[in-house]
Symmetry: C2
């Protein structure tokens, strides 16, 4: 069970997997993420991004433009969560039919 | 993203998936669960079991013995989370090597 506990701790909370899912398409800037992950506040998004970066699930790149451009992208390690996300997605669809839909 | 949000809401928190994982082997009584899901308090376990039952992920059976026996088992719907759990398990193992192990 330790492995499941580790996994849950890395992605705990309601936001991290949603953020990773949004980044799995392509790299995004803070504002884009804030729009796509609807309901998240800027403060929470900023906190979650730091935690995901610490866990090596995303990377933060600063580009040398004026003004500087900051972009977040998913790492190979974060991308390896894709199967988990896919299974969660399929299961969520079933769950809606089974429980919420009724 | 709605489906992922639904899925995350049904299993939110650090305990629900661990409880389901413990029940995926075979039905268990409260005391057994409390022992296997180490670190959980009786109060939290009881609350989480009720929420899992509401979401039709587990079933609570009362047997007509003296004293009555109560047993919790995973439903087919809960079992359908198995793939998610498997993927989380594998990913947790990788995550330990990648991030925690270093």
């Amino acid at each position: 069970m330790l492995s499941i506990r580790d996994a849950l701790e890395a992605v705990e909370g309601r936001w991290k997997l949603l953020i990773l899912y949004a980044l799995s398409e392509n790299p995004k800037r803070f504002k884009q993420l804030a729009r796509e992950v609807s309901g998240i506040t800027d403060k929470t998004l900023s906190k979650e991004l730091k935690s995901l970066e610490l866990n090596k699930l995303i990377r933060r790149d600063v580009y040398n433009t004026f003004p500087p451009t900051v972009e977040y992208s998913i790492t190979p390690h974060g991308l390896s969560l894709e199967k988990v996300l896919d299974e969660l997605h399929y299961w969520g669809l079933t769950h809606r039919r089974e429980v919420i839909g009724k």
